[in-house]
Symmetry: C2
Subunit: 203 residues, 2 copies
Amino acid sequence: MTMKPADDLRRSVLDASLALIAERGLAGLSMREAARRAGVSHQAPYHHFGDREGILAAIVGEGFVELAADCRAAIEGIDDPIARLEACGQAYIRFAMRRPAHFKLMFRSEHVSAPRHDEIMAKGESAFDLLIRTAHDAAVGGIGEADDALAITSWGLAHGIATLLIEGKLEKKCGDDPRAQLAAAMQALSTFSAMQRAARKKV
Amino acid sequence: MTMKPADDLRRSVLDASLALIAERGLAGLSMREAARRAGVSHQAPYHHFGDREGILAAIVGEGFVELAADCRAAIEGIDDPIARLEACGQAYIRFAMRRPAHFKLMFRSEHVSAPRHDEIMAKGESAFDLLIRTAHDAAVGGIGEADDALAITSWGLAHGIATLLIEGKLEKKCGDDPRAQLAAAMQALSTFSAMQRAARKKV
DNA sequence: ATGGATCACTAGACAGTGTCAAGTTAAGAA
DNA sequence: TTCTTAACTTGACACTGTCTAGTGATCCAT
């Protein structure tokens, strides 16, 4: 199943957009500049995406699929539920570091309105829900009874660490080296796991 | 010490900007519309803020001061270090809910570049560092030895929960009612505190 | 095969934006 | 009185997203 030329332009506009975002940030993405780089008229992208938001929605969709795949791969072969949860969090944070623009678009409400683009969001979010469910199951299996609260706590921790990391807010505490920051992030996750294990043994 | 007319316009442009953001979101803030609402020409705001970013920087500065004050007030009169940390996190999350636009501007790197506006950021961030130090001290006092890791973990949790909350990502798990979402957020914090206490007793 | 519809795209225009440059007006200092 | 500076206004420029109106090509039913 080869790509049709139509999808070809769609793909190259999308790639040009991602490159643009990588260079100039999220606000630096412009329909016209993306079209320019793809070598087409300023209106060509509209035929494939309808809207500026359409491009962002496409990026979000790809992001959710990739994140879910990352998480699935990370927990494969791990049995201990708390270790699974930690591995999942690690994948979450590594994804945020590898694709910061995707991550921001995925978890900010203002760029892509969920009601529109619901088919894309649904595809992505169903994959994402699996991720959350994994975390949830792991948490429940680990601690015994506390249901939603622990899942939200785990998600919140991973999400917060990831956010602080890609926004550069850990620089003051960990220095400029991204690897040192990543190490600190991972240490936060393992601290959380340790606390979880302690709480479990106590009960 | 009364306000000079100059500061008067500065203030009203700032208020118009905040109203604009509340109505149309962060991207809906426009220099020209803010000027229009303040009843001045489209260039008048530039005299006070220099830049579009200047307005955002002013908002960020006010936000850091208010957040620090909130946190300080929250931990007042509480002795138990773990309880202090939890109260601090509660204040952090309540602030995010009360001033979502401030919160986003404060913790995103793309809107306001720290190197420029360093005087504003310094004023705000020194207040903010106090907040982090409080969390740090409380954490260290609580668990005994683990130093930076627990502070980052706590900060990450509060930040992540706050972010998910104001981006509406908890709606699927907690429903549309903001009070139910806030309750879930608080429950996540208390879950964390319980785990911290359990870990402490175990060691 | 052929007429009509649909697809993929181009070209032009419009309102709106941030910001540079040049003027204006008023107040205060020398 | 003259000079300087602050606090504006006015006008222009390049750029943006998006609406409208085209233009070939391709496909499909007759």
